[in-house]
């Protein structure tokens, strides 16, 4: 079934210079392999089209059921130079949770 990431994950985001970081965390361990499979660097880059102007890197943290994404060249020059309301990427995590992915039907019952 089609779900928003909001239904199976939570997120925290922040900045380092002009790079945004998004930690994406599975709400249940069973959802983590789905995040790894579905939320690829390419999909994240496409999702943030027009916002992320550089490459996207992804790191896996299976011990925390989490993925860490780095979105380079995304903050209008970074912290102090940026003219954006969200110069520190605080809402990027929520923006990622808008993404829709395919969840296997047998996991659908685990959604709260």
């Amino acid at each position: 079934m089609r779900v928003k990431l909001l239904q199976i994950a939570h997120a925290r985001s922040g900045d380092k210079g002009d790079t945004a970081n998004i930690g994406l965390i599975a709400l249940r361990p069973e959802f983590y392999p789905i995040l790894v499979k579905e939320v690829t660097c390419e999909r994240v880059k496409e999702h943030f089209k027009g916002i992320c102007k550089g490459p996207v890197e992804c790191f896996e943290l299976p011990n925390l059921n989490a993925l860490n994404f780095l979105l380079h060249s995304s903050l209008g020059g970074g912290g102090t130079l940026s003219l954006r309301t969200d110069a520190q990427a605080k809402t990027f995590g929520a923006a990622l949770l808008r993404m829709e992915i395919e969840l296997p039907d047998d996991l659908a019952g685990l959604i709260d």
């Binding site: 970081n21 925390l64 809402t91 949770l97």
Partner: protein, 458 residues
Amino acid sequence: MSAGATSVRIASGQGFWGDWLEAPVRQVEAGPIDYLVMDYLAEVTMSILQKQRNRNPSQGYARDFVPLMGRILPTCIERGIRVIANAGGVNPLACAESVRELARQVGLAGRARIGVITGDDLMERLDDLLAEGIELRNMDTDEPLESVRELIQSANAYIGAAPMIEALRQGADVVVAGRTTDTALTYAPMMFEHGWAADDWDKIAAGVVAGHINECGAQATGGNTGVDWESIDYSDIGYPIIESRADGEFVVTKHDGLGGRVTVATVTEQLVYEMGDPSEYITPDCVADFRTIQLEQEGEDRVRVFGAGGGPATDMLKVSISYRAGYKTTGRMVYSWPDAYAKAQAADRTIRARLDRVGLRFDEIYTEHLGAGACHGPLAGAVPRDLPEVELRIGVRHSTNRHAVERFAREIASLILAGPPTATGFGGGRPRVQEMVAYWPALIPKTHVHPEVQVEVA
């Protein structure tokens, strides 16, 4: 694990300069702790403090820290709670002197030992370092520092735990530091209390993880969490406390009776905050691997953290350099129903045309419509037609021309009478022009930084 006699309680009291003033007081008064650690320094804070010091040589530190100590120091001395804070900014000596003076005023003359750490400030040494061949190239762009040499406002090395441990060894009740590494504020007392060797990488890595959890205050205890946020009491939120054991394991908790929440979810969110490559979390004292740690909910508001691993520290320290990068300002105007969004868009076109007509150019003009997708842009989808109001927000910046930025601040005000209808929300007056300070990360060999420790009785 339980809070046995062998665990040391290290409480976070401040996640940045400007954080909740009551938090450190609550940490001291609402339950038992052994250490109160406070992080005051973000990257831009150093340049603000340097400007203050340039105007007044006795300033340049986080001034809030001194009245705070007036409120809590008597209790801390009475109960043996030691305070470690990087409140010293670019003038730790003046900060420590103010704390000593205050300690005498609150009746602690002869009873409070105040330690101060210096040596992180490289501002006066920059030309010597460059002459010696220490290039301080920008870690992100590889540019040499020469390209911004005349614009530099501050330059500080992120120093590690050793000088803080030395201050504690000399009996300091309060340790005032400048640009220490944020995480070291927490792992220095862990290393000191447990007697960990400087090459016990796994234990120091555990300390780094604990420091990362503590360094943003309530962000580990329910602040900003996306999980069940509606049910969290933020008004009297408990800040994190690390219960640290000699073998490296620790528990993240908070005082009973305070608000907030400590769960695997809240702690994990803080662990991934501002994370780069999780396998290489570099500090002055070790390189921690965040893929090793395990979390377990061992009780209500108690998360056990174990398994941390790490490797040897590098030979370098990170340097935080700030430099003047021009001017910016942001103009705002609110438009109400009907057609709020369309009116804000028309106002934006109006301003841009007026700027063109007077020949003003900027490095960037950036427009947002608050209430109509400013945060998530196109991801927010189509803007509803009947929004009750929208705030137009236009930012401009220029690397050298302050006049152009000031002129923009005048132009935005012209929308009040000479633009689309229902313009309001301008009570704050003309927008203020800000000097921009940019951040230049660099590396320096550890052999070129010499921290010093002084501990004096008030």
